[in-house]
């Protein structure tokens, strides 16, 4: 083992450096994880216990904060809305992104450059700054204060990156694949659906994760578009919840824990895919 690692040049260094590196990394991971741990532990405490013993371990059988958040607040509604909005947006992004990406990658056309430039512009422009006209457009379409206002906005933001990820991958598939199917008399839609797309699951997963995390976590667009409590998503609903229970810290930490739990657990289970997906735009 030592013989192998000493072959990598970067690992050859004095012991003192290695020790310092360990200390820094452990300290950093502690700083990253301890606040999350305190959040979870505090969720099992009463407000009094949090104030008296902020660092103590709680009695883990005290789950009344959680049952209260899930039973007496609108948190489950926010949660369902987040799932509906994120899920529908991702499906739309993948469907539309795959359609455009496939056409650009697999069919020669003089318009391909124009189409790619069009989506490149969409990738660069922060739609957040066009929120006023978007607000008026959604009002005119009768979508304001509905979940669809969020779904179309997120789809518009996520679509360009999905087109580039899909086109980049589909371009690498050999032409022989579709030529063989064509000789067998398969139609173009059939070639796309049965021959090419089954191979394109990995880039679809990347595009899905890259978009799902920011959509799930977004706060700005719901804040502007949604007024009705029953249509709020989790981050926006959380601000309503935090405003209602300001003094009940046990409830606040339980609410934060419940809001953070799904994505954190998913990340721990799929950390490699999450890291790959979320840094996909910045790592070539």
């Amino acid at each position: 083992m030592t013989a192998i690692t000493s072959d990598t040049p970067a690992t050859r260094q004095p012991i003192s450096f290695a020790l310092l590196a360990q200390v820094i990394l452990i300290a950093n991971s502690f700083i990253m994880l301890y606040p999350v741990l305190v959040m979870v532990l505090s969720a099992f405490k009463t407000t009094g216990e949090i104030f008296e013993h902020p660092f103590a371990l709680p009695d883990f059988t005290q789950v009344q904060n959680f049952t209260k958040v899930l039973g007496e607040t609108a948190m489950p509604t926010y949660f369902i809305n987040s799932i509906l909005v994120t899920g529908t947006s991702i499906i739309l992004i993948l469907v539309l992104g795959t359609m455009a990406g496939y056409a650009v990658a697999r069919y020669e056309s003089r318009t391909n450059t124009f189409i790619l430039l069009f989506f490149l512009a969409g990738l660069m422009l922060p739609l957040k700054l066009a929120v006023i006209p978007l607000f008026i457009l959604l009002r005119d379409l009768g979508l304001l204060d509905s979940r669809w206002s969020l779904i179309v906005t997120y789809t518009a933001i996520g679509l360009p990156s999905a087109v580039f990820i899909m086109a980049g991958f589909l371009r690498t598939l050999p032409a022989e694949l579709e030529d063989a199917a064509r000789i067998d008399g398969a139609s173009e839609p059939r070639i796309m659906w049965s021959v090419m797309l089954p191979l394109a699951r990995p880039p679809m997963a990347i595009a899905a994760i890259q978009n799902a995390v920011p959509i799930w976590n977004d706060f700005f667009f719901p804040l502007v578009f949604i007024q009705t409590d029953a249509r709020k998503t989790l981050p926006q609903g959380l601000t309503t919840f935090m405003g209602e229970y300001t003094t009940d810290w046990g409830m606040l930490f339980a609410g934060l824990t419940i809001a953070a739990a799904p994505i954190t657990l998913l990340y721990i289970a799929l950390s490699r895919q999450f890291i790959q997906g979320m840094t996909a735009g910045a790592v070539k």
């Binding site: 990598t8 999350v36 020669e108 008026i136 457009l137 810290w249 999450f274």
Partner: protein
């Protein structure tokens, strides 16, 4: 590409291709291109609530940049965005670079540390903001509680209520949230450096600091370009952390006010009292947009020149 491919050029084929490209293009035109073009136009009009009034030329722009009531607020906020940008470049991107270098050597437990540093990145900014707001509470937050239990009572402060520490606290909360992102992007950049280059530098007897400064840093320039550009865009769009932790007015006394908050207050601020001005909001958004596009492109071009092909 695959130029020799035989493809039928029939009407049926063209309809099929149109079926594939028209819906995505139409969607983008309606929900991205049209709003962005309108955003520029809206800034030249007077607005009464949600209704567009008459054309007023550059009046809104003048008010945003030089107006007696608006301009001081805008420039005060702009300055805070610049502070945040500089501080986050050093803490978040600089810290990420150093952490990436430590992880690159694959020390004991590096897989764990790599997953740990990215945990806050996946959390919603709203969760991060509220969490740190509770932790920084003057009486019951764990930051001051920890200082008390260590006997460092004199260091305890109402962090978010004190003009001298509030903005710094927001910047640190942001760095806690996002440092994992530059860390892992830099790590990927370092892993693409051919190992022979680092080996050769080691054989020449370079020390750790020289290796980092003269070999690794120049060779991860492509990662730096992307990270600094993203941070630049992010710093001038900064909104969620300040909104959650110090509120819409950038309290105390506007010492944490940033352009994102000014924009939101101007455009959507008080819908119930109908204190909203889409004209001024659009002018501010347009100026911010032009500023970001111009400076981000300049930054990208300048950083690109540092990149070395290998």
């Amino acid at each position: 590409m695959q130029a020799s491919r035989q493809q039928p050029r029939t009407l049926k084929h063209q309809l099929w291709v149109a079926f594939l490209v028209v819906p995505p293009l139409a969607f983008m035109s309606l929900f991205v291109v049209y709003p962005i073009l309108s955003a520029f136009a809206y800034a030249f009009y007077d607005w009464q609530g949600l209704a567009r009034g008459e054309f007023v030329g550059i009046k809104n722009f003048k008010e945003v940049l030089f107006g007696v009531t608006m301009a001081p607020v805008v420039w005060n906020a702009f300055l805070h965005n610049v502070y945040a940008l500089v501080a986050l470049m050093i803490i978040q991107n600089g810290g990420g670079f150093l952490l990436a270098w430590l992880l690159y050597k694959e020390p004991f437990g590096f897989r764990f540390h790599r997953v740990a540093v990215f945990v806050p990145v996946v959390l919603s900014t709203i969760i991060v903001g509220f969490l740190w707001k509770l932790f920084l509470n003057p009486n019951f937050g764990i930051v001051n509680q920890a200082l008390y239990s260590l006997g460092l009572d004199f260091l305890a402060k109402p962090w978010l209520g004190d003009s001298s520490t509030a903005l710094g606290a927001l910047i640190l909360a942001n760095a806690w949230h996002f440092v994992g992102f530059p860390t892992l992007v830099y790590l990927a950049g370092m892993q693409r450096i051919p190992p022979e280059i680092i080996e050769a530098a080691r054989l020449d007897g370079t020390n750790e600091w020289q290796l980092l400064k003269n070999v690794v840093w120049p060779l991860v320039a492509p990662s730096t370009t992307i990270l600094f550009t993203l941070l630049f865009i992010g710093a001038f769009n900064w909104f969620e952390i300040p909104y959650v932790m110090v509120g819409l007015d950038g309290s105390p006394f506007g010492t944490t006010d940033v352009l994102g908050l000014v924009f939101y207050r101007t455009a959507f601020g008080n819908q119930s009292a109908s204190i909203q001005n889409f004209g001024l909001g659009s002018a501010l958004a347009t100026l911010l947009f032009l500023f970001i596009v111009v400076f981000a492109s300049m930054l990208t071009l300048w950083l690109r020149r540092r990149e070395i092909q290998f």
